[in-house]
């Protein structure tokens, strides 16, 4: 038999925004840590590429550039693919609706989720650099710490974009393919795996996309720890611009619920087959 309901307590005020954001960040971090897919995509992918490719026989600069590029690859994979796909999966499964039914402010939900994503992205970048160092790249602890500035900025920009893009992905099954074909060409053309031969217009375009500034600044931070600015005003402007674009689109288009666009057809079918 069910037990009797406990009497209501004395707490009557709604918890504050900051406390809820902290709780949400902790919850989302725990969730990411238990997700095999997020660990594979964001943390292990760059390490595996590094181990397969090696840090190369180039000079110190080349080795650190590759480590930085792969660190950026992991960051972008975590902040964009994992973040956006978990939003789509949560929307389709009803988890987002469950949160929406609570008094959790939407801002706390997103701030907490993005904070957790940034933590995982930072951890991914640190692990990549650690493996690079163990396999011969001349990375230093100071460089790794300095790298966290562009890595965090990049994670924020890509998580913002991921939040926006998630609104346009129709189903959980479509999330990974769509997100991968979106980010991977950008990352490759931006030089995450080293310099690639590309037309001039593409090289110019890449500087305005959110991957190139992260890759360049991350490699720069590894090469010259302590050197300021870590991100040039131009790189910062590009990332800030993408944060703004992502947030603006998310504010207008984000959906907590699966779309009802397919409802009429289903409803018609059910009406015709009734009664149960």
């Amino acid at each position: 038999m069910p037990e009797p309901l406990a009497p209501a307590g004395t707490r009557t005020g709604l918890p504050g925004w900051l406390a809820l954001t902290g709780q949400q960040a902790g919850y989302q971090l725990r969730l990411l840590a238990r997700s095999t897919r997020s660990l594979l995509a964001g943390v292990l992918l760059p390490v595996l590429v590094l181990l397969m490719r090696g840090t190369g026989a180039g000079g110190r600069g080349d080795q650190l550039a590759l480590a930085g590029g792969l660190a950026a690859l992991g960051v972008i994979s975590s902040a964009f693919v994992t973040h956006a796909s978990t939003l789509v999966i949560g929307r389709e499964s009803g988890v987002l609706r469950r949160w929406r039914m609570t008094p959790l402010p939407p801002g706390s939900f997103f701030a907490g989720k993005i904070a957790a994503t940034v933590v995982v992205a930072d951890a991914s970048a640190l692990l990549t650099v650690l493996v690079a160092a163990l396999t011969g790249a001349p990375a230093s602890a100071a460089g790794a710490a300095w790298m966290l500035i562009p890595v965090t900025a990049g994670a924020l920009a890509w998580a913002s974009l991921g939040t926006a893009v998630s609104a346009f992905i129709p189903t959980a099954a479509a999330a990974y393919p769509l997100l991968t074909v979106t980010y991977l060409p950008i990352v490759l053309v931006s030089g995450a795996l080293g310099t690639v031969s590309r037309p001039a217009w593409l090289a110019t375009a890449a500087t305005y996309l959110p991957a190139r500034p992260v890759i360049i600044a991350t490699a720069g931070a590894l090469r010259h720890p302590g050197s300021w600015p870590v991100l040039t005003p131009g790189q910062l402007g590009v990332l800030a611009g993408w944060v703004a674009v992502g947030l603006a689109v998310a504010l207008v288009c984000f959906r907590w619920d699966p779309g009802r666009a397919r409802q009429p057809r289903r409803a018609t079918a059910r009406l015709r087959s009734s009664p149960a």
Partner: protein
């Protein structure tokens, strides 16, 4: 402040706004050319348990989702706990719980972890252990959601819906997938919640569920309310006696006069009202001739299922609906 009760029910009365948990006035929802909910006007008093019944596609889920604020009505007015559910305050959200048709909990985490997180935003949540006790999942607190059976996941979802001590609870087919014991435990829990003032609006396909726990039943068909009454009043509306005779296994050569009354999915002859007596006589005569066992033959008052099937089969229009004995 008082206001006249809507005339849609044909009842004149006064109402105190605070007494209503839910107020709908001529609410419509259309998806393209399909009308999912059609001019529904209903008031639901606080502390009552209302069951929404209807065939698949009748508009039950659309109605509940409009009440919860997830679907915008095409026209009409909805007030839930005094607010428009499409523009709810945080205080409103703290008072409303919901169980949707699918389990909505993160599968990688334990039940206790999920409930603790979901309790965080509420001002005075139930302890997670108590919520689990209410749904009979105390022993599964440290089990990951993905490791629970389907029925247990639904119960965990129910625990999540009540974690904030809601004063209004929407349950969309809440006991689907439950074993009989879990279903009865849930009914007890819902009764307890209503006893302390929680209003419960549930959709269900289990007519026994509606019969057992609901104070009031709304029957929807093609988006319209075709009946609005207490379960007892609906049964009475079906009229007279009901004859039920589950056919013994292997019996197929049913006379045409009885075949008309066969419910194939139950393999049972059912006749209600004026047809009950002649069908009873026909069953007895046929069974005697075939030397069939009649120990399963039942004669009694109509069940809610009989009343429901009569309503939905006849396609009764809203103008024929039964008035509830309470609001």
């Amino acid at each position: 402040m008082t206001a006249a009760l809507g005339t849609a029910r044909g009842v004149t009365a006064t109402r105190v706004p605070q007494a209503w948990a839910v107020q709908l006035e001529k609410v419509c929802k259309r998806y393209g050319e399909v009308t999912a909910v059609d001019r529904v006007s209903v008031d639901i008093a606080r502390g009552t348990i209302v069951a929404v019944l209807g065939p698949n596609g009748a508009g039950k889920t659309t109605l509940v989702e409009m009440l919860a604020g997830f679907v915008t009505p095409t026209s009409g007015t909805i007030r839930v706990l005094g607010e428009d559910p499409r523009r709810p305050s945080r205080r409103w959200r703290a008072q409303v719980g919901m169980v949707s048709q699918a389990t909505a909990l993160d599968p990688q985490l334990t039940v206790a972890e999920v409930l603790a997180a979901l309790a965080g935003p509420f001002p005075d949540p139930l302890p997670a252990g108590e919520a689990l006790g209410l749904v009979g999942l105390t022993g599964e607190a440290q089990t990951r959601v993905q490791a629970l059976s389907g029925g247990q996941q639904r119960r965990a979802d129910l625990a999540a819906a009540i974690i904030g001590r809601p004063s209004l609870l929407f349950l969309d087919e809440p006991t689907t997938g439950f074993d009989p014991a879990a279903r009865r435990q849930t009914w007890t829990m819902i009764g307890q919640l209503a006893g302390r003032g929680t209003t419960v609006v549930l959709t269900t396909h289990y007519l026994e569920e509606a019969s057992q726990i609901a104070d009031r039943v709304l029957v929807l068909a093609a988006g319209r309310v075709i009946a609005d009454a207490t379960p007892a009043a609906l049964r009475a509306q079906a009229g007279g006696s009901t004859v039920r005779y589950p056919l013994p296994a292997g019996v197929r050569d049913l006379p045409a006069g009885l075949r008309r009354h066969l419910r194939p999915h139950q393999n049972t002859i059912v006749a209600t009202g004026t047809t009950a007596a002649p069908v009873l006589a026909a069953i007895v005569a046929w069974a005697r001739a075939r030397r069939l066992d009649l120990s399963a033959l039942e004669v009694g008052p109509p069940t809610l299922e009989d009343a429901y099937l009569a309503l939905t089969r006849d396609g009764q229009t809203p103008s024929h609906r039964t008035e509830p004995s309470h609001a």
